[in-house]
C-alpha cells in the first residue's frame, strides 16, 4: 500500500543537524533510538554468528570443528550477547525511545540527557563484552552458575560480569526515564485508557527494568568479588551457598524474560490494530494483562530450580504461581484473535510478522506450561526442550515482534518504505527457518539430550541436522532485511503513513521534525478509533441498533451484531 503524491518534509530530525557531533551529543530521543538501533544490530549479528557456529558443530555427534572449550565459549557468548546486549535493550531502547514521546504527544522523554547517558553506559558495557570476545571469551554459560563461574572457570568472567553490570544500569535508567515520561508528559486529553497498548506494555516493562535489574547488578558484583577477592558467598569451599546464586540470578532473569517479551506483546497489539483497522478487542484486559504479567513475573523465579535441591514445598508454590502468570499471556492471544474478527485485514509485511508471532508465542507459551509442571520438569529440566521453549519466546516472540515493529515504523523513522515484496519474502523465510530450527528441539529434548553438549549420542543426529538446516535458513532471513533496509534509506519510496494507521505518532510528518509536533496535539478520542462500516446483514434480522459499547444484556454467549 503505497501513498500517492507524498514528499519528505523539508526539515526533519535527520537533516536538522549534520556531523558526527550532532549524533554523539544529541539528546533527541529519536536519534538516541537510532544510535541504539545501530549498536544492537551489531550485537545481534555477532550473537547470531555464534549461533550459526554452534549449529554447525552440532551437525554431527562428534566434535568436528571446535574443541570443547571453544564450543563452550560460543554458546556462552551467544547467550550473553543476545540476551543482555540485544534482547533486553531491543524494543525498549530503539522503538521505545523513538516512539514513546511521539505516541503520547511529547517533545522528548522526561530526562533527555539521562537518555543519552544510558546509551553511553550501554556502549561501555558492550565494549567490555567485545573485549572479552577479543581476548579469549568466557565459558560459564550466560547463567554464570556458581561455583563454576567464581572458582573453576579459567576464562574472562570478571570482565564479562562487569559488562553485564554496566548494561544493567543502562536498562535501569531507560526504564526510569520511560516511567516518568509516561506519567508526566502525556498530551492533554490522553488519559491512561486512551493510551496505545504499546505504551502500556512499555510501562510494565520499565517497572521490571527498574525493580529487577539492580538485583542482577548486585549478583554480578558478588560473583566478581568472590572470584577476585575470594569472599565466600556462593562457593561452599569458601563457606558460601551455590544455590543462593541461582535464587539471585533468576530473581532478575525470570522477570528479564518479560523485559524481552512484553514490548513485543505491545508491538503486536499495535500491528493487529493497524492492519485490521480496528480497535483491539478487550483493550482494558490487554492493557491490564501487561501489568499483571509484570507483577507476577517477580514471584515465579523458582521454577528454574525445581531440581536444584530447593525445598519441594517452595517448588510447589513457584509452580502454581508460574501457571498464574500464563493467564494474562493467554488473555492477550485470545484478544488478538478476536480482534481479527470482522476486521479489514491486510497482509503487509508487519502483519505477517504479527500473525507469525501469535502462532509462535502461543506454542512457546504452552510449552512453558510443560516446564512449569514439577513432575514434567524433573525430566525436561536443562534439556533441549527448554532451549526450544525459550527460543520460541525470545526469538519467535521477541525478535519477531521487533522485526514486525521495525517494518511498521520504518516509514515513520525514515520517511521511506522498504521494498514490500522482499519484506514479505523475508518474513516467510524467517518463519519457515525458525520452525525448522526449533521444533526438532522439542523432540530432542523429550528424548533426553541435555543442553550445552558439543558431542551427543548418535540417535539424536537426524533431528539435529534438521535444526541446523533450519538455522541456516533463519540466517538468510535475518540478512535480507539488513540489506533492504539499508537500501531503502536511499532508494525506498517516499511514504508518510502508508498504513493509514491511527495513533499520535502518525499525526506528525514522517520523519518527524526535531520537536516531534509543530503544535501541541490535543487528544479527544481513545486509541484505535477507526471508522467502521455497518455490519453485513448475515440474516434479515441482523441489523440491530445499539450502543457503541457492549452491554451485559447483549452478552448472550453467541456473537451478536450491533450497529
Amino acid at each position: 500500500m503505497i501513498e500517492e503524491n507524498v514528499s519528505l518534509p523539508r526539515i526533519h530530525y535527520l537533516n536538522s543537524h549534520y556531523g558526527w557531533k550532532s549524533w554523539l551529543f544529541t539528546t533527541d530521543h529519536k536519534r538516541i533510538g537510532l544510535l541504539y538501533m545501530v549498536s544492537i544490530t551489531l550485537m545481534f549479528f555477532l550473537g547470531g554468528f555464534f549461533a550459526l557456529l554452534i549449529r554447525l558443530e552440532l551437525l554431527t555427534p562428534q566434535a568436528d570443528l571446535f574443541t570443547a572449550d571453544t564450543y563452550n565459549k560460543f554458546f556462552t557468548l551467544h547467550g550473553v550477547i543476545l540476551i543482555f546486549f540485544f534482547l533486553v535493550p531491543s524494543i525498549p531502547a530503539t522503538l521505545g525511545n523513538f516512539l514513546i514521546p511521539l505516541m503520547i504527544g511529547a517533545k522528548d522523554v522526561a530526562f533527555p540527557k539521562l537518555n543519552l547517558l544510558s546509551w553511553y553506559i550501554f556502549v561501555i558495557g558492550s565494549l567490555f563484552t567485545l573485549w572479552v570476545v577479543a581476548v579469549g571469551g568466557i565459558d560459564t554459560g550466560w547463567t554464570f552458575y556458581t561455583p563454576y563461574s567464581t572458582t573453576f572457570a579459567n576464562t574472562h568472567v570478571i570482565a564479562a560480569t562487569l559488562g553485564v553490570f554496566f548494561t544493567g544500569f543502562s536498562s535501569i535508567l531507560t526504564g526510569l526515564n520511560f516511567i516518568v515520561t509516561i506519567h508526566k508528559m502525556r498530551a492533554p486529553g490522553l488519559t491512561w485508557f486512551r493510551l496505545p497498548l504499546f505504551i502500556w506494555s512499555m510501562y510494565a516493562t520499565s517497572i521490571i527494568q527498574v525493580l529487577a535489574t539492580p538485583v542482577l547488578g548486585i549478583t554480578m558484583v558478588l560473583v566478581a568479588a568472590e572470584r577476585f577477592a575470594k569472599v565466600g558467598i556462593f562457593d561452599p569451599a569458601l563457606g558460601g551457598d551455590p544455590v543462593l546464586f541461582q535464587h539471585m540470578f533468576w530473581f532478575y532473569s525470570h522477570p528479564a524474560v518479560y523485559i524481552m517479551i512484553l514490548p513485543s506483546l505491545g508491538v503486536v497489539s499495535e500491528l493487529i490494530s493497524a492492519f485490521t483497522w480496528k480497535r483491539v478487542f478487550g483493550y482494558k484486559f490487554v492493557a491490564v494483562s501487561s501489568l499483571m504479567i509484570a507483577i507476577f513475573s517477580f514471584i515465579v523465579w523458582g521454577h528454574h530450580m525445581y531440581v536444584s535441591s530447593m525445598s519441594i514445598y517452595a517448588g510447589m508454590l513457584f509452580s502454581i504461581l508460574s501457571y498464574l502468570v500464563a493467564v494474562p499471556s493467554a488473555v492477550k492471544v485470545f484478544n488478538w484473535t478476536a480482534t481479527l474478527y470482522k476486521g479489514s485485514i491486510s497482509y503487509d509485511t508487519p502483519m505477517l510478522y504479527a500473525l507469525g508471532f501469535i502462532g509462535l508465542f502461543t506454542i512457546g507459551g504452552l510449552t512453558g506450561l510443560f516446564l512449569a509442571s514439577m513432575g514434567l520438569d524433573r525430566h525436561l529440566h536443562d534439556t533441549y526442550f527448554v532451549i526450544a521453549h525459550f527460543h520460541l519466546i525470545m526469538v519467535g516472540g521477541a525478535v519477531m515482534g521487533y522485526f514486525g515493529g521495525l517494518h511498521y515504523w520504518w516509514p515513520k523513522m525514515f520517511g521511506r518504505m522498504y521494498p514490500e515484496w522482499w519484506g514479505r519474502l523475508s518474513a516467510l523465510i524467517l518463519f519457515v527457518g525458525f520452525n525448522l530450527s526449533f521444533f526438532p528441539m522439542f523432540i530432542i529434548g523429550y528424548l533426553g539430550m541435555p543442553r550445552r553438549y558439543h558431542v551427543y549420542a548418535p540417535e539424536f543426529q537426524v533431528l539435529n541436522v534438521m535444526s541446523t538446516a533450519g538455522s541456516s535458513i533463519l540466517g538468510v532471513g535475518y540478512l535480507l532485511p539488513l540489506v533492504y533496509f539499508i537500501w531503502s534509506l536511499r532508494y525506498g519510496k517516499v511514504a508518510s503513513n502508508p498504513w493509514r494507521a491511527k495513533g499520535l505518532e502518525w499525526e506528525t510528518t514522517s520523519p518527524p521534525p526535531p520537536e516531534n509536533f509543530l503544535e501541541q496535539p490535543i487528544v479527544t478520542e481513545e486509541a484505535y478509533n477507526y471508522p467502521t462500516r455497518p455490519a453485513q446483514p448475515a440474516k434479515p434480522t441482523g441489523k440491530l441498533t445499539g450502543g457503541l459499547h457492549p452491554s451485559p444484556a447483549t452478552a448472550t454467549g453467541r456473537e451478536a451484531q450491533v450497529v
Binding site: M1, P147, L324, L340, I358, I363, H379, I443, G448, T556
Partner: protein, 384 residues
C-alpha cells in the same frame, strides 16, 4: 571421547531403519507417570494451538481487505468471552499444576527399603560406591524391580544426574547431599547424563545405567567387593582418632554417635535439628557450625582434608552404628557369619548391605561385611 555407544535396542532398530526417534525409552516406574502427564498436556495444548491457529487463518482469509478502502465491519463480541477465556484456561492450568505436583510429590521420598548407593560427581566423571564396597566410574549397575536411592554430592561444581529413560533429574551440589531414587522396570543399558553445565568436558560427563536381572546383579556384586562402606568408614574413624573423643563414656568429650542418625539433636543455640546425612557431613567438616548441647567446640574441622568419598564412608559408618560402638568393632571375618543368617535368610533375593537401620543392633555390621567375608560369598551365590 567417552561417548556412550551402547544404545537401547529400541533406538537401535529405529536408527537402522533411518527413522527419526520421537519418544524416549521408558524404563522406570516413574516414567509412565511422567509420560501420562506429558500426553495429557500435549493433547490439551495441541487442541488449543490448533484452535487458535485455525481461527487466525479463517479470520485472515474471510475478513481480508478486498478493496483498498474497505473498512472494518461493526462487530460486537460479548465481553463475557473475556471472562470465559480467563476462567477456562485457569482451570486447565490448575489441573496441570495439580497433576504435575502429584507426580513429583508421589516420588519425592525414596521408599524405606531402597538400595542406597553413594554417588560423587566431579569434573568430569560419576563415581559410585555401593553399600558393599563396590566402586564404579561412569557406570552404575542396579537390579531391576528394586528401588534404588542415590545419595549424591559433588566434589567441585554443580552437576546434575539425568537418566532420560527413568525420567529423573537431580542436581548434584558441592558440600551438600541431594537424593534421587528410581525403580528400574526393565533390564538394559541406559544413558546417564550430566545436565548441569560443569566446564570443559561437560558433554563427556556421561555414563550408563546398567539394569540387571536380580541374579545377574548378585553375580556382579560378588565380583567386585572390597569391603563395605561402613567398614571402611570405621577404619577411617579409628585412623583419624575420632574414637579418642567419641568414646561412648559418660565423660566423653564428643557426643555419643551410635543411634544418632535420624534422631533429633538439641544444639547449644536451643535449636533442634535432625541428624540426617547433611548434618553428619557438616559436623565432620565444620564441627563448629552446629554444636550439640552440652559439648564444647573443640573438634577440629576436616574441611579440605577428606575426600567426598571418605566423608561418605564416615557417614555410612555413623549411620550403621547400632547402640554401642563395640557392636561394630568385630571387623574380623570369623565373627561375621554368626548373626548373619538371622538377618539374611528371610529374604534371600535382597542384595546384602541394604539392611535397614531400624534392625536389631549388631545385624548391620556383619551383614555389611558379608561380601568381604569368604564364608559369606557362598551364601550370596545360593540364589543363582
Amino acid at each position: 571421547m567417552r561417548l556412550v555407544t551402547t544404545m537401547t535396542t529400541n533406538s537401535d532398530w529405529m536408527a537402522a531403519l533411518g527413522w527419526i526417534p520421537l519418544f524416549p525409552e521408558r524404563a522406570s516406574a516413574n516414567a509412565a507417570n511422567v509420560d501420562a502427564l506429558y500426553f495429557f498436556m500435549l493433547a490439551v495444548c495441541g487442541v488449543v494451538s490448533i484452535l487458535v491457529v485455525s481461527l487466525i487463518f479463517y479470520f485472515a482469509v474471510k475478513y481480508r481487505r478486498r478493496t483498498p478502502d474497505q473498512l472494518a465491519e461493526e462487530a460486537h463480541v460479548p465481553i463475557a468471552l473475556e471472562w470465559a477465556w480467563i476462567i477456562i484456561p485457569s482451570l486447565f492450568f490448575m489441573s496441570f499444576f495439580g497433576w504435575g505436583a502429584f507426580v513429583y510429590f508421589k516420588d519425592a521420598k525414596a521408599p524405606e527399603d531402597a538400595l542406597e548407593i553413594a554417588c560423587t560427581g566431579r569434573q568430569w566423571m560419576w563415581k559410585f560406591q555401593h553399600p558393599d564396597g563396590q566402586r564404579e566410574i561412569n557406570t552404575l549397575h542396579i537390579p531391576v524391580g528394586k528401588p534404588v536411592k542415590l545419595v549424591m554430592v559433588s566434589e567441585d561444581v554443580i552437576h546434575s544426574m539425568f537418566v532420560p529413560a527413568f525420567r529423573i533429574h537431580m542436581d548434584v551440589v558441592p558440600k551438600r547431599y541431594t537424593e534421587v531414587w528410581f525403580q528400574a522396570t526393565k533390564p538394559g543399558t541406559y544413558h546417564m547424563f550430566c545436565s548441569q553445565y560443569c566446564g570443559t568436558e561437560h558433554a563427556n560427563m556421561v555414563g550408563s545405567v546398567i539394569v540387571l536381572e536380580p541374579h545377574e546383579y548378585q553375580n556382579w556384586l560378588s565380583g567386585a567387593a572390597t569391603g563395605s562402606l561402613a567398614l571402611r568408614g570405621e577404619a577411617l574413624f579409628n585412623k583419624l582418632a575420632c574414637n579418642g573423643c567419641h568414646t561412648g563414656d559418660a565423660e566423653a568429650r564428643g557426643p555419643y554417635l551410635p543411634g544418632l542418625y535420624g534422631r533429633n539433636v538439641q544444639l547449644t543455640t536451643g535449636e533442634v535439628v535432625v541428624a540426617d546425612e547433611n548434618y553428619l557431613r557438616e559436623s565432620i567438616i565444620k564441627p563448629g557450625a552446629k554444636i550439640a548441647a552440652g559439648y564444647d567446640n573443640i573438634m577440629p574441622g576436616y574441611d579440605g582434608q577428606l575426600t567426598e568419598e571418605e566423608i561418605i564412608e564416615l557417614v555410612a559408618y555413623i549411620k550403621h552404628l547400632g547402640k554401642k560402638y563395640t557392636q561394630f568393632e568385630p571387623v574380623a571375618p570369623p565373627t561375621a557369619p554368626a548373626p548373619r543368617p538371622a538377618g539374611q535368610n528371610p529374604d534371600q533375593t535382597l542384595p546384602t548391605g541394604t539392611v535397614k537401620p531400624t534392625q536389631a543392633p549388631g545385624v548391620m555390621s556383619p551383614a555389611a561385611s558379608s561380601t568381604s567375608a569368604p564364608s559369606a560369598e557362598g551364601t550370596t551365590r545360593k540364589p543363582n
